[in-house]
Symmetry: C2
Subunit: 414 residues, 2 copies
């Protein structure tokens, strides 16, 4: 490994220990092509090739927090501005994700020390109080500023390379409906319906009757208004309640972007609920962020963005289905679509960041930029996956023999 | 439940205990519409509706063996002719599979007793010596009698409802090749190549270089002769060795119908091997029989047909991939195709059963008929699944954005 000191202005405040800390920080993430700039202007570069961006630590404590608390240290440091990224934040995130994904034979002592620091960090975590708003306290106005017109806050499906975000969200709704082979008059249960885009779309274009569950009062109110405006009140019912209260029988069970928030210990219960609700002739679809390896959630994302969630591996998702009588029919991984979705969300978000900053805080804007860029990078480099899983009760043989129908123009709704 | 005694010829030998045993046997499998006929002509029917077939016990010991050793008792009893099925064996197998799949709220005491009997049975099993030839001792001649011309002994793909077995096996080879996006000149490793149909097809029609592994001397000799006859010796190499000796780098890793024989404890090792061999830009496919629930193999199938195998659930298959850096890209379930494949194999087998009987034994023919019919039924009712899993190393973004290309006519080889 080439160690390049791009600019060695030796000022008083940076010592050998600081340099070692910077080296350590970059080694742990696989030596990305990122220049480290310290508070006195000293720069270090530990990789080969041309740097992609500069990461500036504006204080020693920001650097030490990164050593001690890694993900949280970086997330908090970037949010509060003690860490600055010079360059495009998506390029920066992609480069870090690339380095993490491709690092091989991680240093034994580095990984031991990393575990030890994780243990120390878990205390640090409980001590620090959150001052950034959590995801679901934010209200509809915030999301309306930068989501597409249908308010879809899950992975889009870029059916066409030139598709806009709004087109791709519409294509996703249709892709899900096709996979479910919706037929007019069928009863559909949707668990976790967000602002109601899918529920409304299914009722309007596929003629089904939908009961959609969501425990967010603001989202349900919004969804009801939208459905009423489209004259769909007789076919879509939005129920402000937890998915665990679902008890009706249905032909189709669908859940898009909820499993990530359910928590691993509730997977079996979710499966039991689906097993109870779904008619023997029914089918279902779960759309969820996934991981390649079972792993605890990223601590900073847990702390600031999605408290209580768990992003499962496919093996962990099996716990939803395998205790019950289901055939998993089809699993599609759309991770590249989610990388693009997050990058487009960030573009939209950046257009309104001043407005967001004045309504919330600069720290909030920076936390969200980091979250969207980091998510995009994680999908781009396969540390996150997006699974759409189609399933049916065991004995249901009224299932398609192949998947051609998904790609033929006739199979859309209306 | 209606208990019908269709024909109550009370002869001396059948007592109340025998009737209870017959009742027990049918209850455990969910009361299929099967008439039980005992050795004295007495018939019992414990279901509603019209009987699909008659199961005749020609001796008390055959009935008691079924009570004690369930799957093994039935398999052995049918093979040695002490149990006879009157009616079509596929209809019989489907009806039993249907009843097992749809039984609800299995009787608590029945399931407790069933577990107890399983414990007793495991002793019975070790005591009885096998006299039916195992799968891989059988030689090429046996399989040539009833497999398709390419000698493909895995699930076919009925691209077209009218396809013959041979057409469907060819379509399966192309379906696998398309999923792998083979490009001329690529290096392919195939683990467990049977008689070489896929390896030869890939080399001949997709212009790739194949190293195909199989530790059966007879199969490898056969495959080499076929490839030589097609002038493919420069592009296909058949290696008579265990898959665990694979060490070359490759662009594509494929394994069709091997995972079932690998054994659960070796899944992680298989994943490690693929992780080592597959280039960062590569992709792979595993095609395997699967289950909805993790479960030990059927004891009779283990004893007589596939010793040492384990049919994994999707959650168990995750153990191949999740310790390493893979994205699972696509999972397709082809269970209905395998139900049809097995049923068509049985038809072909029946055409040559006299010849098979004189070469081996009547018992052997009956064991194979039961195995093929039972497998067809298990796929038909979803107790068995057939998964094709496409995967790629984590960071490989040269993967398709959607699956349209699988269904467009241009994507075939040549």
């Amino acid at each position: 490994m080439l160690i390049l000191e791009v600019d060695v202005k030796q000022r008083v405040s940076v010592n050998e220990f600081d340099r070692l800390a910077a080296y350590w920080v970059m080694t742990v993430v696989g030596n990305p092509r990122i220049t480290v700039r310290l508070w006195d202007g000293n720069e270090f570069y530990f990789a080969d090739g041309t740097p992609v961006a500069v990461m500036e630590f504006r204080s020693r404590s920001a650097l030490l927090n990164l050593v001690l608390a890694q993900s949280v240290g970086f997330g908090e440091g970037y949010s509060n501005g003690r860490i600055e990224i010079h360059g495009d934040i998506i390029d920066f995130s992609n480069e870090v994700a690339r380095a993490i994904t491709t690092r091989r034979n991680q240093n034994y002592y580095a990984s031991k020390l990393s575990s030890l620091l994780r243990a120390i960090r878990s205390n640090t975590l409980t001590r620090s109080k959150g001052n950034v708003h959590h995801h679901y306290d934010l209200g509809n106005d915030f999301y309306e500023m930068w989501l597409d017109e249908r308010m879809v806050y899950t992975c889009a499906y870029y059916d066409d390379a030139d598709a806009s975000l709004a087109d791709a969200q519409l294509a996703k709704l249709d892709h899900v409906c096709r996979k479910l082979e919706l037929k007019p008059g069928q009863d559909v249960i949707e668990a976790g319906c967000g602002w109601g885009a899918l529920a409304t779309h299914m009722a309007e274009h596929y003629g089904v009757n939908v009961k959609a569950y969501n425990n967010s009062h603001e989202q349900v109110s919004y969804a009801r208004k939208k459905a009423a405006a489209r004259g769909l009140n007789d076919r879509v019912q939005f129920i402000e309640d937890d998915y665990r209260t679902i008890s009706d029988q249905c032909d189709v069970f669908v859940s898009v972007g909820m499993l990530e928030h359910v928590g691993l210990k509730n997977f079996r219960g979710l499966g039991k609920l689906i097993d109870k609700c779904l008619k023997p002739t029914g089918r279902g679809l779960i759309h969820s962020i996934g991981r390649s390896h079972p792993r605890p959630p990223d601590p900073w994302i847990s702390k600031r963005i999605f408290p209580g969630g768990h992003i499962p591996s496919l093996g962990e998702i099996a716990a939803v289905f395998e205790p019950y009588k289901f055939s998993i029919l089809d699993v599609e991984n759309l991770r590249l679509h989610y990388a693009r979705t997050c990058a487009e969300w960030l573009q939209e978000f950046d257009k309104v960041s001043d407005e967001v900053g004045s309504k919330y805080s600069k720290e909030f804007v920076r936390a969200w930029r980091l979250y969207l860029a980091g998510s995009s990078a994680a999908f781009e480099f396969g540390t996150l996956q997006l699974y759409q899983i189609v399933f049916a009760p065991h004995g249901n043989n009224d299932v398609p023999w192949n998947r051609k129908f998904l790609y033929s123009p006739e199979s859309s709704g209306d």
